[in-house]
């Protein structure tokens, strides 16, 4: 074999190995979670409060708390991100959209713990309370740039012919956007939103400073609230083996929800592609 052929084969094998490692990581994590936490998943896990070591109970309050925090994040972050995305895609201004786009990308790159500290300073400290609402605000700051950029991307994929078709009928720009462009990009936009929510639902750092944690049911959205990521953290750093198993189980539930969200989003998108 010539030297060239050997190098060719070797490099290709290396790339293949790297690709295999990339894919196998997810399955390794899943297997680990199932192995360590699978036995702790029972009806109790979804219905009971966490208990002391020896009576580990469940994580019902954290599941509900996560849902509550993500709900706040979605209510705040999705509309702002969506309308910013429309602005980015449709504005005719030569400079402002570029500045907004660049800033959104920078915001997207802000370390999540920094977002946590900022929200702690502007919300938790003045209100004297850790709260689910503050957690939602912190996560929404991460959701806004993700939603804005994905909305923009899918709006720009709408063929120019559709836009001109509406304009040629006497529609103004806003009408065209609202009645033709956005509906045409609907599936993509929704997919982007689902992926964004999946992305923020595992964030821990912003919640440590904002919603904190709670061993019990939260007394309300203005009170400290348990969440799955923070619960994983507190259980994992404890010295108890049964708490560790609870943390693995919580990780499995969280990853499961994220995977279901991702897969649903992709199915929505491919079905849309088939139909149009």
């Amino acid at each position: 074999m010539t030297r060239r052929a050997i190098v060719n084969k070797l490099m290709f094998a290396l790339c293949g190995l790297a690709a295999f490692l990339t894919v196998s990581t997810l399955f390794l994590i899943l297997a680990y979670l199932v192995y360590n936490g699978g036995t702790s998943i029972s009806l109790d896990f979804f219905t009971k409060l966490p208990g002391p070591s020896g009576h580990p109970g469940g994580m019902a309050n954290a599941i509900l708390g996560s849902a509550e925090i993500i709900f706040f994040a979605a209510v705040i972050g999705l509309p702002i991100g969506f309308f910013s995305g429309i602005y980015l895609a449709e504005s005719a201004d030569p400079w402002l959209p570029a500045i907004v786009r660049y800033t959104a990308d920078l915001l997207n790159g802000v370390p999540s713990i920094v977002i946590g500290i900022v929200v702690w300073t502007v919300m938790v400290v003045p209100l004297h309370h850790f709260s689910a609402l503050a957690g939602g605000v912190a996560l929404s700051l991460m959701l806004i740039p993700i939603t804005a950029r994905s909305t923009e991307r899918f709006l720009l994929q709408v063929p120019r012919e559709l836009r001109e078709g509406a304009l040629a009928l006497g529609a103004d720009k806003w009408r065209t956007t609202a009645t033709v462009i956005v509906p045409a990009a609907r599936r993509g936009i929704v997919t982007g939103m689902i992926l964004g929510i999946a992305r923020i639902s595992g964030e821990t750092a912003p919640l440590l400073f904002t919603s904190l944690n709670n061993e019990y049911w939260s007394a309300g959205f203005k009170e400290p609230t348990a969440s799955l990521p923070v619960m994983i953290y507190t259980h994992a750093v404890s010295p108890y083996a049964d708490w560790h198993r609870q943390a693995w189980a919580a990780g499995l539930v969280l990853l499961g929800l994220v995977l279901v969200g991702n897969i649903t989003a992709r199915m929505v998108l491919t079905q849309g592609a088939k139909r149009s």
């Binding site: 559709l162 078709g165 009928l169 529609a171």
Partner: protein, 249 residues
């Protein structure tokens, strides 16, 4: 003869590139005018000035005057101009909506549904576009379920639904097979009683078949404009003769 639309000394530039030089051309009412010429000759640019849709492209500059019934179109609100001067595009571009909603779109956004119902407006437009019999039982199916030729006739119906005075066609058959093309050509001739039409085409036989008048463009200039018969049988300019006899283009 009365002119429905007239262009006087129209020049169009995209940034530093001047695509159209000093074009003067009248469109007679209830006639079809074909604009022919090789690719890049400015005929589409000219067409896209007539409903001001090329203003949506950045850095477009239009000089000269274009009038509709004697009124300068640059003095009229742009959405009104586009309603009165409709356009059908090169590739069928139905909206991702039902057949019904596609046709009802224009009347709805222009507030034209007082007195008539959407059903009536949709039926009469689809009839004028010779599509009614093929789609009357599936009005609420997606427009994408139709064939290419049907989609193009749907786009014509959609344009007709706002009762335009002038209808512009930008190579409307270039994506269609010969049978679908023939149907569209028949349709255009039949629409003359409703509106004035301007059609850009690469297909000289098509211009000869449907157009009353023909204008020949070359390198951004209008070389010649006359009755279609004269343009094809006895052109007065050398360039026109060279083009229609296939010596270039």
């Amino acid at each position: 003869m009365s002119s429905k639309m007239s262009a006087k000394n129209v020049s169009v530039s995209y940034g530093p590139f001047q695509a159209l030089h000093d074009v003067t051309l009248d469109f007679e009412a209830n006639k079809i005018t074909a604009l022919i010429g090789p690719s890049g000759c400015g005929k589409s640019t000219f067409l896209r000035s007539l409903n001001r849709i090329n203003e949506t492209e950045r850095d477009t500059r239009i000089e000269g005057t274009i009038t509709l019934n004697g009124e300068n179109i640059f003095d009229i609100d742009v959405t009104e101009i586009r309603r009165r001067v409709g356009m059908v595009f090169q590739r069928p571009n139905p909206f991702p909506k039902s057949i019904f909603d596609n046709v009802a779109y224009g009347p709805k956004i222009n507030g034209m549904l007082t007195g008539t119902t959407a059903e009536e407006a949709v039926e009469s437009s689809l009839r004028r576009a010779a599509l009614w019999d093929e789609v009357k039982d599936k009005l609420h199916d997606s427009a994408y379920a139709l064939s290419g030729g049907q989609q193009q006739r749907l786009c014509i119906a959609r344009a007709l639904a706002v009762n335009p005075e002038v209808l512009l066609f930008d190579e409307p058959c270039s994506a269609l097979d010969p049978i679908a093309t023939a149907r569209i050509e028949d349709l255009l001739v039949g629409l003359k009683e409703h509106c004035t039409m301007v059609i850009v085409t690469h297909n000289m036989q098509q211009a000869a078949r449907v157009a009353d008048d023909t204008g020949f463009f070359l390198l951004g200039k209008l070389i010649e404009h006359d009755k279609t018969d004269l343009i094809f049988k006895n052109p007065s300019k050398r360039e026109t003769e060279d083009y229609i006899t296939g010596r270039f283009g």
